[in-house]
């Protein structure tokens, strides 16, 4: 079934005030375009879950979209502090719920699998367990020892950016595939953005590469460059310079406001954003090709 619609329409249709959102991607394929569209459409009281809130949630929190964050590492990866989320937490203006990476991904795995919880072995570090009452214990009936358990996470909306998908939403991903599959299966709706929309034949040429099947997808949007300043393996590089710049921008509410005005509110969509980045940035992020060796599935 053809689910190809513009991103603005997908956000308007599937993201509502008060929803819980999981914008997927561990460093890789972070769906910034959808995040910006949510800011533009002025959503409020969202619960924003991500292992690493990253710049995308720092910006959404700055724009006033969020009531709460759920996370396992609240930093600007490779740079340092995630200033806005941190400030709001320290000021008591933002609720939060915290796990380790493994706790977070176990919640998603349970959610994807249709299980009520997932077990994890003990770590000897019990302070987080005391701080977060959703982290519980269960006795292993085989050894009599306790394991740690976390409850399933089933967000209202998964936002997943992929390298290529067909118009039905069958998606190929490669490179770091962090928690994309788990988030897609765990969520009630899946909003997909893709660097390329390809013919179904391309997807069917390599079925082991399809991590997300179309029939769990609600909307497919063709949005090249959607991950910038994050990256899409094989398409463009991570904009490390911007990650460093954000550390400066986010020091001051005024510069943050200016950034949002200029790069989110004043641009219509990701196309305009990408053009605005300019050729110097385009060239800096350009990547030379390095292809996989083909494999033979055989004609049976």
């Amino acid at each position: 079934m053809n689910k190809l619609i513009p991103l603005s329409e997908a956000v308007s249709q599937f993201v509502h005030d008060g929803d819980s959102i999981y914008a997927a991607g561990f460093t890789h394929l972070i769906p910034f375009a959808a995040g910006h569209e949510i800011i533009r459409q002025g959503r409020r009281n969202l619960t924003l879950a991500r292992a690493t809130p990253d710049l995308i949630y720092d910006q959404m929190v700055a724009a006033g979209c969020a009531r709460k964050v759920i996370f396992s590492y609240m930093g600007n990866p490779g740079v340092g502090s995630l200033r806005i989320v941190r400030t709001e937490m320290e000021a008591g203006r933002l609720e939060w719920e915290e796990y380790s990476h493994f706790g977070m991904i176990s919640r998603l795995q349970a959610g994807a699998a249709g299980l009520p919880f997932m077990p994890m072995n003990q770590t000897g570090a019990t302070d987080l367990e005391h701080a977060n009452p959703l982290i519980k214990r269960v006795t292993d009936p085989y050894s009599g020892r306790e394991v740690i358990v976390v409850p399933a996470l089933n967000p209202d909306v998964a936002i997943v950016h992929v390298q290529r998908a067909d118009k039905d939403g069958n998606a190929h991903l490669w490179g770091i595939v962090g928690e994309q599959k788990e988030v897609a299966f765990a969520s009630k709706h899946v909003l997909l953005t893709a660097e390329e929309i390809v013919d179904e034949k391309v997807i069917r040429s390599d079925p082991n590469r399809t991590l997300i099947p179309g029939f769990i997808v609600s909307a497919v949007c063709h949005v090249p460059g959607a991950a910038h300043p994050s990256y899409a393996q094989g398409y463009y590089d991570r904009d490390n310079e911007f990650y460093l710049n954000w550390d400066k921008i986010s020091e001051n509410p005024e510069t943050v406001k200016n950034y949002l005005d200029e790069w989110v509110f004043s641009v219509k969509d990701r196309d305009e954003y990408w053009q605005k980045l300019g050729s110097v940035t385009h060239n800096r992020l350009r990547v030379k090709a390095r292809y996989s060796e083909k494999i033979n599935y055989g004609s049976y």
Partner: protein, 257 residues
């Protein structure tokens, strides 16, 4: 070999603790340099894995983040985060983990969560665990690289993000942890290692550093091991690889903390 930076001292001494064939859970920055240095000297078969899901990376450039695309192209394998934390880490397939944090206490507990007295109202909010809670528990052995400063070495951390020695080998076994925990803290003054009770004691000094320096920069009454070693001098070869090959622009080498 005077005028060594803190970074050089820590990176080279951490590299020397790695063994050929070790599977190492690598962080960016200094641990990444230590692993690459070991790989180019005594541990050519060292396997670097990253919590982003990359196994056997051979980065062509210095990665800024643990999810850098240069780690992926040409890697041996790339897997999901769930697989990394289960099949690799929890299953016992990781030999070495690197840990770091704002505070490390007498028993090797690390705080990377918040400074203050009330979790719900942090004075300073830090990033939190990431992978650290599980790395500290399940990697076979862990190392910590940190500048030797009193505020980083309190007697007791404000929050235990990752578990330390838990009273030594027995304590960790009793708690059901598979790894040995933090068995070496590499600072710019020397090396701390747990004694049989799990307390971190000074076991080595870098050339030219003194016991007093170590004691004065530690927040608890630091004990000195009966057989205090001096670490081997850093060689020109080690420095050459670091500066000419691994971090030519000095991003992590000039950083003292």
């Amino acid at each position: 070999m005077t005028n060594l930076t803190s970074a050089e001292l820590m990176i080279v001494n951490a590299a020397r603790m790695l063994q050929d064939g070790d599977v190492v859970f690598v962080g960016v920055g200094q641990p990444n340099l230590a692993c690459n240095l070991a790989k180019r000297t005594h541990a050519p078969n060292l396997v670097m894995i990253y919590e982003a899901g990359v196994i056997g990376a051979e980065p062509a450039r210095l990665p800024l983040s643990i999810g850098d695309p240069t780690l992926v192209s040409g890697a041996l394998s790339v897997v999901s985060m769930y697989d990394i934390f289960t099949n690799y880490l929890q299953r016992g397939n990781v030999d070495v983990g690197f840990l770091g944090g704002a505070q490390i206490d007498k028993y090797g507990n690390i705080n990377a969560t918040f400074i203050g007295t009330d979790y719900a109202h942090p004075k300073v909010r830090l990033p939190g665990s990431g992978g650290a809670q599980e790395i500290a528990a399940w990697a076979n052995r862990c190392y910590i690289m940190t500048p030797h400063q009193k505020r980083r070495f309190p007697e007791k951390v404000d929050f235990v993000t990752s578990a330390g020695t838990l009273g030594g080998k027995d304590g960790r076994e009793k708690a059901g942890l598979r790894g040995k925990g933090p068995i070496g803290v590499i600072t710019d003054i020397g090396i701390l290692e747990p004694d049989p009770t799990g307390e971190l004691v000074l076991t080595a000094l870098h050339p030219g550093k003194s016991t007093e320096e170590a004691i004065n920069n530690t927040g608890w009454a630091l004990k000195v091991a009966a057989q205090l070693r001096t670490t081997a001098p850093i060689t020109e070869k080690e420095l050459g690889i670091l500066h000419n090959e691994l971090d030519p622009t000095g991003i992590y080498l000039k950083n003292n903390g």
